[in-house]
Symmetry: C2
Amino acid sequence: MPNRPYTQRDRSVFIVSDGTGITAENFAYAVLTQFEGLRLFQERIPFVDTEDKARETVLRINDAAARDGHRPIVFSTLVNQEINKIIQEATAMHLDLFQQFVEPLETEFGVKSTHTMGRTHHVVNDEAYKNRIEAINFSLAHDDGQTHKDLAIADVILVGVSRSGKTPTSLYLAMQHGIKAANYPLIPEDFERGSLPTALKLYREKLFGLSIMPERLSEIRNERRPNSKYASLENCRYEVAEAERLMRKEAIRSCNTTTKSIEEIATTIITEFGLNTKAY
Amino acid sequence: MPNRPYTQRDRSVFIVSDGTGITAENFAYAVLTQFEGLRLFQERIPFVDTEDKARETVLRINDAAARDGHRPIVFSTLVNQEINKIIQEATAMHLDLFQQFVEPLETEFGVKSTHTMGRTHHVVNDEAYKNRIEAINFSLAHDDGQTHKDLAIADVILVGVSRSGKTPTSLYLAMQHGIKAANYPLIPEDFERGSLPTALKLYREKLFGLSIMPERLSEIRNERRPNSKYASLENCRYEVAEAERLMRKEAIRSCNTTTKSIEEIATTIITEFGLNTKAY
């Protein structure tokens, strides 16, 4: 991004965590993309769980400060107070994600936090974690209509034409949310018959349709199979029109994925099915 | 969790966002799991991008406050100031994730933030987003040694015995980080030959091994194929010992996945390969 008036370039950003730092990294990304025209260089330093590693990290941050001529930005999620104290000594602007929220919540709840490290992504024996792994296996086994088996335990069954976004959405729902998501392609045979694949009729309340603009679909398909009938705009128009007609006829809820990211499609589905709640 | 002294039960937590709210949800989870013995009920309210939706959301929060007898906790990431102002009127403890960090960063950078909505998960035309989708397709196509094609463009190739965690890790690396991760099972034929599958020898610098404790492996395999030779502790001990011997012989970097979550395994690999940096 040239021509921007901003002069403080080459700022370093560090994500420092005693766990994976993934949550902090995503959060930092959300905040930093609010600023345009900055040339930022970001590094995630995970598993900073000893005082030695904390001191190494401080050296790295101070090096960057000296090199850049500007103090780095440090987003940290450190539960251990001793380690946190060491990191805070680095020459940097410190954005301490935990302290900023944990302390007010301690007051609000009237209880002390456990200061347990990296609980978010370290939950191997946890029921929720097991559910996620099971959901990933389920979604993989039920990708692209591979099997009708166990559809009764699916949370959601996505339907749509080839390349409408079913596979990445199913995997995302499983991976991030532990939702068992099967997916079925809608194909010319279904359009000719004018009805859903028989295997799906039992599970109408679990179905969710993904649609897409024919122009975008044609683009995506052309990347895979250039100049094929499959990718032609004419064929894409036909398939999308037929798929949408089928969804209307069968009263299947649906959304258009053309300008949506995987996360947005997943969130739309989760909200539609009332899966956006969680108990601790 | 009974027998805990905490009396303020049934607290509602709302994640309010003009985007998907996924980043905020993960963040809230990381913070709230620091508190034990609380019965929290959490709801994510995404796409709050009009004043009408903001007013509906306020009603929902106020309802919960009246029902619980305690003010709810609201984690919000709202870029639009008008919408934010409406939400702030709800009866709640407000944890405004954006303002809390965006404003200090405006001062630090000496530039105003763009206040652009939901940029994190709404990047359909973005190169990074396209990379993620490509990486997902790549990792799916290269799951479980399905093909040797295009290994030259893989970022990482995971190897390990069956059920050591290769598939979920590959998909996670692709989905979250846009890393093209192939994976190959190490099987008895490889152990008998005492060397890597030929297809992998060209790409030794991309290999990363996943190992696991035989006892845990046997548990996992028994869930799939109870009482099989495949799942027997004896066989698991043999396979793990042989796989580890092969990794040592071929000087393949590796980690033990027994007590690690997908995120932790992925983070270990990313750090090992120096992929934990990002430029904006």
